[in-house]
């Protein structure tokens, strides 16, 4: 559970924004590590709907059925890579505007550049701070709305 129910939080912090005030974002998390999936679930708390996929194939199956607001993807996947998922999404007429955040422990300059070149919108390096992840997801959602409005 996120800390926005704790009254000691400063008035201007993210934590003071009640989840009801924000659009409930649907996140697809693509990561084969069960421990990491649980960490992200705990970080996001009540303000998000979270779905999971453990591989590129599962992610594709999921996206064929439902369109989340944001995809969070690990770079290293058992059957492929997060880069391949980025490319696949950007090539698809149906999914091309889907916001993608790469959340990974790969942190070299080359990894990051490859991520953005493949079509990622954001790149967050593990270990992540829960509050930072929540903030970045909200900001990314707004950025993509602005991009979409600009056409």
């Amino acid at each position: 559970m996120l800390s926005w129910r704790i009254s000691r939080q400063p008035v201007n912090s993210v934590s003071s924004i009640h989840p009801q005030q924000l659009h409930r974002l649907h996140i697809l998390l693509v990561d084969s590590d069960a421990h990491m999936r649980e960490k992200v679930r705990q970080a996001l708390g009540a303000g998000f709907t979270l779905s999971y996929a453990c591989s590129l194939e599962e992610a594709q199956r999921f996206l064929a059925e439902a369109l989340p607001d944001i995809v969070i993807c690990e770079m290293v996947l058992p059957d492929s890579s997060g880069l391949e998922l980025c490319r696949l999404v950007r090539r698809s007429l149906l999914w091309q505007h889907l916001p993608i955040m790469l959340l990974t422990s790969l942190s070299t300059l080359q990894d990051k550049v490859a991520g953005f070149e493949a079509g990622a919108d954001d790149y967050l390096v593990k270990p992540f701070d829960a509050r930072h992840l929540v903030a970045r997801l909200r900001l990314l959602s707004r950025i993509k709305h602005l991009e979409f409005d600009r056409g």
């Binding site: 924000l22 550049v113 953005f116 954001d122 970045r136 950025i143």
Partner: protein
């Protein structure tokens, strides 16, 4: 001497920025001509402030800002966007990406130097408060 890195693919603009920053006489200025070269310089030189354009080949200014803010090792580098994109939506995209100040071209040297002074003084806590305020603003829009 504090280090300022300028990242812009237009050599004429780069010279103007270097001239403006050198007027202050307190910064050592280095230059990169695209986003990836800029990232390499940031990792190698650890500048005290980065001035970055938006529209650049290979990696644009928004991506560069998000790339830096998404890694704890570079999340608190002072960042200024200096761009010819002047619409409110462009500026908002820059701020949401995590830049500390968004200035537009043409620019006044004094305005640029004042912005550098401000962002260099920002603390991580102040940067966090700004992000919180942006999120609060988003919540009110929704």
């Amino acid at each position: 001497m504090k280090k300022v890195l300028v990242i812009d693919d237009n050599p004429t603009i780069v010279e103007l920025i270097k001239y403006a920053v050198n007027l202050q006489g307190t910064y050592q200025v280095s230059v990169a001509y695209d986003g990836i070269q800029g990232l390499e310089s940031i990792y190698n030189e650890r500048p005290d402030c980065v001035i970055v354009d938006v529209k650049m080949p290979r990696l644009d200014g928004y991506q560069l800002v998000r790339c830096l803010r998404g890694d704890a090792r570079t999340a608190d580098i002072p960042l200024i966007i200096l761009s010819a994109l002047t619409r409110a939506e462009d500026q908002m995209t820059g701020m949401l990406s995590g830049v500390d100040e968004y200035l537009t071209k043409p620019f006044r040297p004094s305005a640029l130097n004042q912005a550098i002074e401000r962002v260099i003084r920002l603390t991580p806590a102040e940067r966090q408060r700004r992000m919180d305020a942006l999120l609060q603003n988003q919540a009110e829009r929704e």
